[in-house]
């Protein structure tokens, strides 16, 4: 039964311990820079490792994977946006900001999935690694497009009201649109030069073109101590996620359910694409499912803060870090694996 033994992986246990420290109101606090340092290390390590493997990989499959990463990254936020509007629990701009997170991915969840597969001795392809690097960016772009659409809708509603009244409002609106257009290019730029994306893709390229003799000397750093660093990172993420649990009440039951439904939709789509379209093994399809199911909590939140400042950060942070992340780590990964196993037969 993989679903139980998954809980006994050190990485998962440390995540649970992190949540627990908050539940018992321990004074344990991690230095603010630690998570950032650990993230840099983890992204660098998986990048190098992936690039090294991909140097020997099939270019066609690689390009196909990239294309499907783009498709997933663009489609999932739109699905999420429509569901959120249907719930009528949040405004248009909040819906745009929240759903952008679900097109992106969580490297922490991905790495836990790898630890899970490694532990169960299940093989997987390296292509999902490139998808991981790709999927940060389109989600941010879609978020911006949805927000632009939302703003136009809001402006239209307002100008209807304004046609009976104040001229000045319409002016202000056109002002806003100007600024938006101007900053759209800059946000597009931000989406593709985001720090995480650059470390991941950069390390991948380095892993692919480095001299083998040079790479060999890196393995103790990027391989041997990797699992320990991941445990420490998930410990801290648990601590942060645990803090968000307290905000659950504020988010409400309907939104909380959204944080579980979205990864289920993403996971099912991911298993299907992984197995039937990209023709990956059960392990590889599980990883695609995890990519589709997970929500960003590193690259997208600051991007949304800038791009959609009107949205309430409590919503998207609580959903992605307080609900979807723990759900995926504890329930999602073994579930998607099972699903892939069943469908592969």
């Amino acid at each position: 039964m993989p679903s139980i033994s998954n809980l006994l992986l050190p990485a998962v246990l440390f995540f649970v311990l992190g949540i627990f420290t908050r539940v018992i109101k321990s004074d344990l606090r991690f230095p603010p820079d630690l998570a950032k340092i650990l993230s840099i290390y983890l992204l660098m390590a998986i990048g190098l490792h992936g690039g090294n493997a991909l140097a020997k990989a099939d270019l066609f499959i690689a390009l196909n994977s990239v294309m499907w990463a783009f498709i997933l990254g663009f489609t999932l936020p739109i699905i999420g946006y429509l569901i959120l509007l249907a719930t009528r629990k949040v405004g248009l701009l909040d819906a745009a900001a929240i759903s952008a997170h679900y097109g992106s991915v969580s490297a922490g969840t991905f790495l836990t999935a790898i630890a899970y597969l490694d532990n169960a001795g299940i093989k997987y392809e390296d292509y999902p690694l490139i998808m991981l690097a790709i999927m940060e960016s389109p989600a941010i772009v879609v978020g911006l497009l949805l927000a632009a659409k939302a703003r136009r809708t809001i402006a239209a509603r307002k100008s209807k009201a304004a046609s009976h009244g104040d001229e000045k409002l319409a002016l202000t609106n056109s002002d806003n649109v100007d600024n938006e257009e101007a900053s759209f290019t800059s946000l597009l730029h931000d989406a593709f030069t985001n720090g995480s994306v650059v470390i991941l893709l950069g390390s991948m390229v380095i892993g692919a073109i480095s001299l083998p003799s040079g790479m060999e000397k890196l393995f103790p750093f990027v391989d041997d101590i990797f699992m320990g660093v991941l445990c420490l990172f998930l410990f801290e993420m648990g601590n942060v996620a645990g803090k968000r649990l307290g905000d659950l009440r504020q988010v409400g039951i309907v939104l909380a359910l959204f944080g579980i439904v979205m990864p289920l939709i993403g996971g099912v789509l991911g298993v299907y694409i992984g197995l039937n379209i990209l023709d990956f093994s059960v392990g590889g399809a599980t990883l695609v499912a995890v990519l589709a199911a997970s929500a960003s909590y590193i690259a997208v939140p600051p991007a949304m803060r800038l791009a959609i400042p009107e949205a309430n950060p409590s919503y998207y942070l609580t959903l992605s870090l307080g609900i979807t992340f723990p759900f995926n780590v504890i329930v999602g990964i073994p579930l998607f694996h099972k699903l892939a196993q069943l469908n592969a037969i």
């Binding site: 603010p32 600024n179 993420m237 942060v240 803060r305 409590s314 942070l317 870090l321």
Partner: protein, 106 residues
């Protein structure tokens, strides 16, 4: 003996992602410099602190001649009206050499 001269100290508390944009506008509105402190805090948009440390508050301090303050405040107000969360306050200060704060940043 020191003669002291009055200046205005503009304080802005916001997220660090806005740092570059704000620095740009300081340059535009003629500040001679600025100082940034890392911070954490809570306000109308909830706690702003950890989130893995990637997304924290900053507190910016700009000493600026009183006559340049209004244009700068207008620009900050425009940002606030667009939805950005900026906590802004102004303090009367005294400085040793007012010329220092009349120069513009390169």
């Amino acid at each position: 003996m020191n003669r002291l001269y009055p200046e205005k100290l503009l304080n802005i508390i916001t997220i660090d992602a806005l740092e570059e944009k704000l620095v740009e506008s300081f340059r535009k509105y003629g500040a001679s410099g600025y100082t940034i402190l890392r911070a954490q805090g809570e306000g109308s948009s909830g706690v702003r602190s950890d989130m893995t440390g990637f997304d924290a508050n900053i507190m910016i301090k700009v000493i600026i001649p009183p006559e340049r303050l209004t244009a700068m405040l207008d620009s900050l107000e425009r940002k606030i009206n667009k939805g950005h969360h900026l906590t802004v306050f102004i303090v009367d200060v005294e400085v040793l050499s007012p010329e220092k704060f009349n120069a513009r940043m390169r």
